[in-house]
């Protein structure tokens, strides 16, 4: 059994030691907001926070995360939208939206570390792939959230 603290709630899951967190979230716990994009930590669609660090859940076994605080897109804002989510709405960032859970989780983590990020900071932190090409708006929305 693996004991996971996800969005402030403890879940006990009976999974293999090497099952990545992504599949525990999606297929065991039915939390499908975190997306599968590549399975090899390339695209960032599966980004979650582990103890305040952005992490690609497709490439982290759930078993090594016991005792750590995991936050997913579902837990980002329990009652009120996070300022990043609000900026995303204000700037109409998502198109197909599939990569945006990961994009938002990466942006939130960036702002936690650098409340006033420069364009270079954004370039370094936001390596997520978006095929619809929302990058221009992602950048604008991060700057807007930094001011909010």
């Amino acid at each position: 059994m693996v004991k996971l603290n996800i969005n402030g709630k403890v879940h006990q899951v009976d999974v293999e030691p090497d099952m990545p967190l992504l599949w525990v979230l999606r297929d065991i716990l039915k939390m499908t907001g975190t997306k599968y994009g590549c399975g090899v930590a390339q695209c960032g669609a599966c980004t979650v926070h582990v103890n305040g660090e952005a992490m690609r859940s497709c490439s982290v076994p759930a078993s090594v995360l016991e005792g750590k605080k995991i936050t997913t897109i579902e837990g980002l804002a329990a009652t009120k939208l996070h300022k990043v989510q609000q900026a995303w709405i204000d700037h109409e960032v998502p198109q197909c939206g599939y990569c945006q859970s990961g994009m938002i989780m990466a942006a939130v983590n960036l702002l936690e570390k650098k409340p006033k990020p420069t364009d270079a900071d954004i370039d370094a932190a936001m390596s997520n792939i978006c095929r619809c090409g929302t990058y221009v708006r992602v950048r604008a929305a991060i700057h807007a959230a930094a001011k909010a």
Binding site: D27, K35, C38, G39, E92, P94, C96, C99, Y135, R139
Partner: protein, 724 residues
């Protein structure tokens, strides 16, 4: 028809509710909620497109798919403009594919491709809005006993000024729903539009920032099993034998399903299925295609260009004579590679086979085609398929005509042996998605032009060797060996050249091809607009001036070129080290021009500074969404030009994931300026694809300006660039 049945039951409902509710006195006396209860709480269908709730909510049905382009909002805007409802009360829902079959295709085409959603349905949708408005007004007028012509509707309120009475859509919808739809309705003059042309928030965005949006890949059903699949890596190959002994022992594995050309593992979650899949030992019958390579395909295309007997798709004047008499003859070969769509959501489909019926959930650009594929795979009538269209995590043409993911899901689900029927969700790994695509065709171009002593173009001969998409999907569209779909941009070239000829050599390697965003207009402009730049540069002429001389006055290609050049400040010198290129291309009813500014470092690295794209789509419904589509095309087009390349070795795709099929990321993203110059008129153009067309040539023309190197084959990553 079921349509009649629905109407009949509604009439019955009206009679009942009128008897119970006691008519209009109550309508005015009670507060909104109670009114709703008095009249019944059911939403009323006022035309097949519009549902009106007693509490004034208006639901507009959308036949086309939402894949990020904004149709789920833009299409309802067209309806609401004429309906004269309160936009704040409007939401959207997909028209049911099952009802579409039962009701004789009442919603028309469900196909979402060719940048067509708005341009091919704006009239029917505006008419639906106007029709419903007329029916609502008539219902109110009948209630009041006044002529309908004396009543007006605005923001969901119907008013009869003379008697100072007013009511709302929600209050008269039940009566309106029983009325005969008027045959002819007058549409507003575009100058009177109040909603169309204003930026409205997209309906689908809030759920996309909270993780609540359910895509096809997120479908979760009770007792659902998961499948991962491995198809023969050589297209058209077959399974010879499977050793699944190791896979079967894996935890959670329920079954190994063997198909003609693929093997799937079905398990209790997808990771387990995919891990077990990797343990299968499959022997393939790879067939005759196992020796095909990118080199052999190139040789095939080259043979096509050298074949003097290939057909003419267009012939004006006498190219040979004009070339013979030209002061200058230029010749160049261009090449564009196969491309995968790489939707962020890998291909997937959930199927639940129940005897001779099947329930299917899938992200698709064409629900009816998905139903047809499921029915065919199962050998049943389409009416046996209950289909749930899911929002798409990207489409770009991959999920338009081809529904291989639906077919495979249905075939796998059919074979699953469980005591009760269970749904099976088939999800392709990213590797499978890259290797088992249907690709943007390769193409090889031989361009030949003749110029006179003054540098005027007198002859242009284009020879194109490429696979045909239509040969696969609509072979009757290939006539005399010519697929005109592959020749867009050449056979309809806007430039005035007295002698032009376009020849086409259809060469069909085994690699499957399909529509990829902008289709031939994603690749043909690269050859056309770069070769034109070659002509201008070799004569020391400014590329904008050179094109201007070749474009007819009034041509919208000229208009968008001027708009892009003006917005980019074409006549203003750039800072030292910064260079620019321009290109123009019309497609799907729209006209687009791009100017790209960049610099190239001493190490040959491209620094993209700025992209200006001007588009004339005729009309713009939701300007912010339109700009987003331009931004989207910039990224998709730049990614393809810089990095995009699917290569073939031993009959199979060499690439497998984003590390070897790379994507543009935010750190390389230039500034984008989207310039909308809608000129109205009778043509409505698309926006999902046209802005992509000028990207690759504008980029390569800018690279030439920066380095003097002429990129004639894509992607750019294969070239060693050097600063001038």
């Amino acid at each position: 028809m079921n349509l009649n049945r629905v109407v009949t039951s509604r009439r019955h409902f009206l009679k009942t509710s009128a008897a119970v509710g006691g008519g209009l006195a109550i309508e005015f006396a009670l507060p909104m909620q109670a009114r709703g209860q008095a009249q019944g709480t059911a939403a009323q269908e006022v035309t097949a497109w519009i549902l009106i709730h007693p509490d004034e909510r208006v639901v507009v049905r959308v036949a086309r798919s939402e894949m990020g382009q904004g149709s789920f909002t833009g299409l309802p805007m067209l309806v609401a403009e004429e309906l004269q409802c309160d936009w704040k009360q409007v939401s959207a829902e997909y028209a049911s594919t099952t009802e579409q079959m039962k009701r004789n295709r009442v919603w028309g085409s469900m196909s979402t491709g060719g940048s067509s959603s708005i341009r091919t349905s704006h009239e029917i949708l505006r008419k639906a809005g106007a029709t419903a408005r007329q029916m609502l007004i008539t219902a109110a007028a009948q209630n009041w006993g006044v002529p309908a012509i004396e009543c007006v509707a605005l923001n969901g309120v119907i008013t009869h000024a003379a008697s100072k009475r007013s009511t709302t859509f929600g209050r008269v919808a039940d009566r309106a729903a029983t009325l005969e739809a008027p045959k002819d309705v007058k549409l507003k003059d575009p100058k009177d539009w109040q909603l169309i042309g204003t930026s409205q928030k997209r309906f689908d965005i809030p759920d996309k920032v909270t993780g609540k949006q359910v895509y096809g890949i997120d479908v979760t059903l009770p007792n659902m099993l998961h499948a991962s699949i491995l198809q023969c890596p050589v297209f058209d190959g077959k399974v010879k034998s499977v050793d699944s002994s190791a896979a079967e022992k894996m935890r959670g594995v329920k079954q190994i399903v063997r198909l003609d050309n693929a093997v799937a593992v079905v398990a209790d979650n997808w990771w387990r299925a995919n891990q077990a899949l990797k343990l299968l030992k499959v022997e393939w019958d790879e067939g005759a295609n196992a020796t095909v390579s990118s080199q052999s395909i190139m040789a095939l295309l080259s043979d096509g260009l050298n074949d003097t007997a290939i057909p003419n798709a267009k012939k004006v004047g006498d190219v040979s004579a004009a070339l013979a008499g030209a002061a200058q003859v230029m010749e160049a070969e261009y090449f564009t590679p196969y491309l995968n769509h790489a939707t962020m959501e890998p291909q997937n489909c959930t199927a639940w086979v129940k005897g001779d019926k099947v329930e299917v959930w899938a992200p698709t650009q064409n629900a009816e085609a998905a139903v047809a594929e499921a029915a065919k795979a199962l050998g049943v009538a389409p009416t046996q398929v209950e289909f749930h269209k899911m929002h798409l995590g990207g489409g770009f043409g991959r999920r338009g005509v081809l529904h291989d993911f639906v077919k495979l899901a249905v075939l796998v689900a059919k074979q699953v042996n469980t005591t009760t029927d269970v749904p099976v969700k088939l999800t392709w790994s990213r590797e499978e998605d890259i290797k088992q695509g249907a690709y943007r065709p390769v193409s090889l171009y031989r361009m030949k032009a003749g110029l006179d002593a003054a540098g005027n173009v007198t002859a242009w001969h284009s020879r194109i060797a490429a696979p045909s998409i239509m040969l696969t999907f609509q072979p009757d569209r290939v006539r005399n060996g010519i697929d005109t779909n592959a020749l867009g941009g050449f056979i309809d070239m806007p430039y005035t050249v007295a002698n032009t000829q376009v020849d086409y050599s259809l060469k069909q390697p085994h690699v499957p091809v399909t529509f990829w965003r902008a289709v031939a207009h994603s690749q043909n402009p690269f050859a056309r607009e770069c070769f034109l730049d070659e002509m201008a540069q070799s004569n020391g002429k400014d590329p904008v001036e050179f094109r201007r001389a070749l474009l007819k006055a009034g041509d919208k290609n000229l208009l968008v070129m001027e708009a892009a050049a003006k917005a980019a400040g074409w006549s203003v010198p750039l800072p030292v080290g910064v260079h620019r290129g321009i290109a123009v291309q019309d497609s799907y009813g729209s006209y687009a021009a791009a100017v790209i500014e960049l610099s190239v470092s001493d190490q040959g690295e491209i620094d993209l500074k700025r992209v200006v794209v001007a588009v004339d789509p005729g009309y713009v419904v939701n300007p912010d969404s339109a700009k987003a589509q331009i931004e989207s095309c910039v990224v998709y087009g730049l990614t393809a030009a810089l990095y995009g390349e699917i290569t073939i070795k031993e009959g199979r795709v060499e690439q497998s994931n984003f590390y070897d099929y790379p994507m543009l990321r935010i750190n390389k993203m230039p500034k984008v300026e989207a310039v909308l110059v809608p000129t109205g008129g009778s043509t409505w153009g698309g926006l999902g694809e046209p802005p992509l067309s000028p990207l690759a040539p504008a980029l390569c023309n800018a690279i030439f300006a920066a380095t003097g190197q002429r990129i004639r084959s894509l992607p750019i990553k294969n070239h060693n660039l050097k600063k001038v």
